[in-house]
Assembly symmetry: C2
Homo-oligomer: 245 residues x 2
């Protein structure tokens, strides 16, 4: 008989973006981040800067934001063994940038399974923003990023069993530009994948605690589903049903 690994309480915070107009880096989400990390008694955060090209500079930005809040921030790129760094992390933060570059690097460094193991089975808190949110979901099929590199797969960490579109926004209906709107792009995904996507506007996040998923932040989120009209959810809505997919 296969040994059943007990599930620790999952703790996942997926931010639409790290920046919101009028705020400093991560500043808009400070109360949510502090509360999220306090519940797991986190003092030290392992930062994954792979989505941008300059890892040192990126880690310095994140450290400048989070150190004053009382956290120690270390870049995974400074560690001898990234797999070991994931396995011994108190909490993990995967920053935004280019989703294709990020996912390709996670595959190259063989971090997909260790990340899943830590978050899903050991309950290690995972925070992502933008690209770091995309890679936490089922796949990167709903990223907004340009495919500047070719990853070995679009399948991602599957910490949640559906897709998210970060930085979600409605296209200005008065534009004369003929490029596709965001909603047209997401509907293309629905046509091919037949799977739901949560459009997370800037300033909002999805918080997963155990079996409960909640929309946090002060704006609505828009859920796109195959063969159905999109549905808007108010701030603080219970979105736990999405975890049952």
């Amino acid at each position: 008989m296969q040994k059943v690994v007990p599930m620790a309480e999952r703790a996942i915070l997926l931010l639409s973006s790290s920046r919101v107009h009028g705020y400093g880096y991560l500043e808009h989400a400070k109360p949510q981040i502090v509360d999220f990390l306090k519940r797991k008694n986190v003092e030290s955060i392992l930062f994954v800067p792979y989505a941008l090209i300059d890892h040192d500079k990126y880690t310095a930005t994140v450290s400048a934001a989070l150190t004053p809040w009382g956290y120690k921030v270390e870049g995974i790129h400074t560690k001898k063994c990234p797999v070991e760094a994931i396995s011994s992390a108190q909490a993990i933060f995967v920053g935004g940038g280019n989703t294709f570059v990020l996912l390709k690097t996670l595959y190259e460094k063989k971090l997909i399974d260790p990340l899943r193991q830590q978050v899903l089975h050991k309950g290690i808190p995972y925070m992502g923003s933008s690209a770091g949110t995309n890679v936490a979901t089922r796949s990167i099929n709903t990223t907004n990023d340009m495919p500047v590199v070719y990853p070995p797969s679009f399948e991602a960490l599957r910490l949640v069993p559906f897709n998210i579109n970060p930085h979600y926004l409605e296209t200005d209906p008065h534009t004369e530009h003929k490029g596709e709107t965001r909603d047209e792009r997401l509907n293309e995904y629905l046509e091919y994948a037949k799977l739901p996507v949560l459009g997370l506007r800037e300033g909002t996040a999805l918080l997963v605690q155990g079996d409960k998923a909640t929309l946090v932040g002060d704006r609505k989120a828009k859920l796109f589903r195959p063969n159905a009209e999109p549905v808007e959810y108010e701030p603080n809505s219970d979105l736990s049903f999405l975890l049952q997919l």
Copy 2:
């Protein structure tokens, strides 16, 4: 000794978009399209509708636009053997839609080599718009589309040896949205690929005739190069140097 295949005069017209504000489908480019096809005495066009999901509907749209101009339009999806259809086409038009879906289908139907052969060695005219322009270039790394399906490679037809960004536009500098701007996305590509990208604004196209490449349409194009400032080119500029890369 390997037999040298003589190069017929290439004829490639790569449109930024099929639609421009205030015009019907392809209408803005009518003089350029008619002139382009007349030089090769084209009467019949093989249309490749793979970038959209409804091939019949898409072919009907294209036929409704081009039949009144005197061309017969046939959808490749109505042919028993797509490879044979490419090999016997008088001219090929690859329409826009989702670039990932389009390129994946070209690979699945084994059309990459036949298309290259026809266009580069036999001088069969190739017209593309939007996604049809992306797949004609070196790679699809600079598409604006959402990666709704996973193609076996991002390498494309390489009918021209550089990349194009269709629907190119500058992002509104007053936006409060924190998603990346188009220029930031293209600069990410430059950082990783170290290769140039031509930003083609809607209403413009790149016309290749033999060894000569010309910017057509009434707006400038913006060339992005690694480690250099972007350069704007006026309408009708000679861009033949891009073919020498």
